[in-house]
Amino acid sequence: MKTNEVPQDKSHLESVSREVYYAVDENGEYKKALSSGWDVKTIALENALEEIERRVEDAKRRVLENKTSPIEYYMELHKMDVPVLASYVGIWQWRVKRHFKPSVFKKLSAKTLQKYADVFEVSIAQLQQIKP
């Protein structure tokens, strides 16, 4: 890639910082060059974010249909998966998965609920009540 070919497209990062590329100048020497963004990867990032949004919406719908607990909804909202969430709350993965069951979730102790609430930075009331 030549220095003048370094992409200067719009991106989510450009307001904060440009990023470094390594590119060849007119004398064939490698130099650092700054890029504001590249559409090719911005689209990939946007698609990934859309996918997360879809997962959040899907989880929310299933909470309202009483098919899963709000824990799964908050997990998706925080871009987590089960291994990451389990690591944050310090609870085994299989137990976290069990807490997705609405019937199990209803019986959770205040102590366990508090652990989840702390990780998601919400109150226990917010954790228990998802608004449509």
Binding site: L13, S17, Y22, K41, A48, E51, V84
Partner: protein, 331 residues
């Protein structure tokens, strides 16, 4: 307190932290040099592991390895500390700052407040330097950012104790012992040999073989996983390859820059020619990304389009195999 520390922006965080910490100690060493000597270049498909709900592919060595190998090969010693206690982690950091010693920290990106929301994922192998403290704000030099920034005590604690894969556990590190002058020649040769070995490894999911393996997987995705999932997977491949920190073309340009610099140090013209060849391979990776993006942009999944990008990847795999065979002989 503020340490007189020079912030140099880099493509990748780990190389950048090493390069900047070395610079503070009076050793001028470029980011590509750290990357090359530390054998940072790689290709690896990790079977069964899913990242962001897509197959895990990496274009570089495991987090932390680059610095470890670099230190060993140029003969510097690194002090590393991990903590289970947050208070202790903070106390040790403050102690170092009081002694005018800037330190590298491993952190999680998800709670790094100066990143835009869109970039905040649960990725725990980011690196930055703390070079001072003013009132309750730490002075931060994040190598991928154009300028320096700050974080409050609370904010820094949160990212130092992020959880999940590669949890940093407060990981703090800094170089402590140095040779009189750095002998780069031998280190470069070692670094290159190691990379050749990795890229030519007789393992189906590593190096050139790994690239062709992923090409084969891409061919099957639309039929096996459906259009939507296949497009998501393809988007993730491009992100691993091109997202911030790679310097473009899945680290291939940084490596080409390393070969160019090495050709001068070792007085080996062949390396300069090979640098040009690596640049061309980097360009092929970029072309692959452009064509892949056409697929996931239009959300189409003509079998043909998938076969076409798979063919491109196959060609790259063959070229890299030939390239590293030549590089092995050139050194």
């Amino acid at each position: 307190m503020k340490i007189d520390f020079t912030h140099n922006q880099s493509a990748h965080c780990e190389n950048g932290v090493v390069s900047n910490l070395m610079g503070y100690k009076g050793f001028k060493i470029s980011e590509p040099m750290v990357f090359g000597i530390g054998s940072g270049l790689l290709f690896c498909y990790i079977p069964f592991l899913m990242v962001n709900h897509a197959p895990a592919i990496t274009y570089r060595a495991m987090p932390g390895l680059i610095f470890k190998r670099f230190a060993k090969r140029v003969g510097i010693k690194i002090q590393r500390e991990k903590f289970s206690n947050k208070e202790k982690a903070k106390a040790r950091l403050d102690e170092n700052l009081r002694k005018d010693n800037p330190v590298g920290l491993q952190v999680g990106v998800y709670n790094l407040v100066y990143f835009p929301d869109e970039y905040r994922f649960h990725f725990n192998a980011h690196n930055l330097v703390v070079y001072g403290k003013e009132e309750d704000r730490y002075l931060i030099s994040d190598p991928v950012m154009e300028t320096v920034t700050t974080l409050t005590e609370k904010q820094l604690e949160k990212v130092r104790f992020a959880k999940g894969a590669f949890a940093p556990k407060g990981h703090m590190y800094y170089p402590i012992e140095f040779p009189k002058d750095l002998k780069l020649e031998k280190a470069i040769v070692k670094g290159i040999k190691h990379t050749c070995r990795d890229m030519l490894a007789p393992v189906p999911f590593v190096g050139a073989k790994g690239i062709r393996k992923v090409a084969g997987l891409i061919r099957k995705w639309p039929k096996k996983k459906g259009v939507k999932v296949a497009n998501h997977y393809l988007g993730q491949v491009v992100r691993m390859q091109e997202e911030i920190g790679t310097g473009g073309g899945g680290f291939r340009y940084i490596y080409a820059a390393f070969l160019q610099e090495s050709s001068k140090i070792l007085k080996n013209d062949q390396l300069s020619e090979l640098s040009k060849e690596m640049t061309e391979i980097g360009d092929l990776w970029r072309d692959f990304a452009v064509d892949a993006s056409r697929i996931y942009k239009n959300r189409s999944a003509l079998d043909d389009a998938y076969n076409k990008v798979a063919d491109q990847l196959n060609t790259i795999g063959n070229k890299e195999e030939a390239f590293f065979k030549k590089l092995k002989k050139a050194i």
